[in-house]
């Protein structure tokens, strides 16, 4: 039984997982997704039984996963988890159906109705693309004319997904959010992510700073419920500290865990390797 790690760009995280595996006497074969050719007419051969899928390109990873699962390979994360977590609208919907607290979110499907949706927030709201990472194109607007401009701009991007308007309240919170890393169904570490300078987004990719966050009972319980709701795997759950408790705004199915490893001192890579070995059996 073989384990492979499929990547398109080798980050700190992928290197650590490979190192942690070799320390445990487990060999993980790195495979560059960009070099793969998969034959859909004979779905019966792949060189690994378990794949840790880590492509930065979401769609590459998603469709690759679909094929591998078709070949009977066990992929972390699964196609269903990726599909759900790669889409903020579907994630919020699932969380809501599982009674997990989320920020107030409104969806519209046209420029004009998007403006009506924004009116519900008095034009002070966050407009998020339903796909994408690192806070890309997430827009905080504060007044009608800016809201109108941003909505107009989305239509100029010539991507129909940008015309699904996912609009969220700007949650009153400290200048940070909390990321919890889950492996399997178990929360293993957490970090605060502080936003940098006049940037309001907390993404580490935008200069955000990681600090240790204790896995309190409240955080652990919430993370377990979220992991259960989306189907488990290696996940990063992002939540905010509102006046009414924690609100979950995102679940990452391709979580970067350098910051949380360093801030918490927890060997996240090692825990992932143990999880992959269990799946192998």
């Amino acid at each position: 039984m073989d384990v492979a790690l499929i990547y398109d760009l080798m980050r700190w995280e992928e290197k650590k997982v490979i190192e942690a595996a070799s320390r445990r006497g487990l060999s993980i074969k790195p495979i560059d997704a960009k070099s793969l050719v998969l034959d859909l007419s004979s779905l019966n051969s792949f060189s690994a039984d378990v794949v840790f899928q880590r492509c930065i390109s979401y769609f590459r990873g998603l469709y690759l996963t679909a094929v591998l699962e078709g070949m009977g390979v066990k992929v972390v994360n699964s196609f269903n988890v990726l599909m759900l977590c790669g889409n903020k609208l579907l994630t919020t919907l699932r969380l809501k159906l599982c009674s997990i607290p989320t920020p107030k979110t409104v969806v519209a499907f046209h420029q004009e109705s998007a403006l009506k949706a924004l009116e519900m927030f008095n034009y002070y709201a966050v407009i998020k693309p339903i796909f994408g990472s690192w806070g890309r194109l997430i827009s905080l607007v504060k007044d009608f004319e800016t809201a109108k401009s941003v909505v107009e701009l989305k239509s100029e991007l010539h991507n129909p997904l940008h015309e699904i308007f996912y609009i969220q309240e700007f949650v009153k919170r400290p200048p940070r959010d909390i990321r919890i890393v889950v492996v399997g169904l178990e929360p293993i570490a957490a970090e605060y992510r502080y936003s940098a300078g006049f940037e309001w987004r907390t993404n580490i990719a935008r200069g955000g700073r990681a600090e240790k966050c204790d896995l309190t009972g409240e955080i652990e319980k919430l993370a377990c419920r979220v992991a259960e709701a989306v189907g488990g795997g290696v996940l990063g759950i992002d939540c905010m500290e509102s006046d009414h408790g924690l609100l979950v705004h995102e679940v990452n199915a391709n979580v970067e865990f350098k910051g949380v490893s360093e801030a918490s001192g927890i060997d996240v890579a090692g825990r992932i390797v143990e999880y992959l070995s269990e799946l192998k059996r």
Binding site: L137, D143, E145, E152, L153, K154
Partner: protein, 282 residues
Amino acid sequence: MVSLGVIYDFIRPEEKMLINEARNQGVEVKLVDAKNIYFNISNSLKNLEDIYLQRCVSYFRSIHITYLLESFKCTVINSFNTALVCGNKLFTTISLLKNGVPVPKTAISFSKSSALKVLDEIGYPSILKPVIGSWGRLIAPLNDPESSLAILESREYLHPIYHLYYIQERVERPPRDIRSLVVDGQFICAIYRYQPPLDWRTNTARGGRAEPCPGVDELIDVSVRAAEAVNGEIVGVDCMEGRDGLVVHEVNNTVEFKNMVRVTGVNIPSAIISYLKRRVRK
């Protein structure tokens, strides 16, 4: 009898009015649909008209055809240079400045981060305008650092022409601007363009309301000088009533004038066609 080529890609009410007027004045009109023509430029061009009126809606189509016809010694109104300058807000502002025509305070930068630095310097609210484009399209308010960041970031996903950050002060003005028409250095008439209830842009394409505007000395002076600054023969000059007087923010080389005709009653097509006839004789 003069033969006038009218180059168009869409027939708007303006083109219809111009064609009718030309025929009334005994001018032979050759309609040239820019979408249907091609030029084999390795051969010399034949059957050219005495003079062309360039009315293409598409900016790029328009300047390329004008350039080509001018290269083959045709007279095109407006000229390539005028079209090039008027079609680009940065070039326009520079031409106006060099000729002493008052303009809003303007800055240009070439990256998101330098755009944010400019904003630190000139302050909020400001306005971000694409250097190319009409009808107020993609003109965006920069009201605070966070939403400005969102708007500047979105621009990075658009065509490189939108990575030029032309940033202008938000002029304190009444809820309107002024469009005046200048033909052959003469002020013809002007309208106020009131911004519609749910927009701050005054473009009539966005539902802005037109009303007649009296041709006072300051307006005539500024409009004529703006037209001169871009060597415009038939142009629409857009200006705002700032605290210290009029400031010109745009000069249109393919001016839409149906609302001007409607509210001022001035026979603009007649003024234009009469000028084109005079121009041929020059």
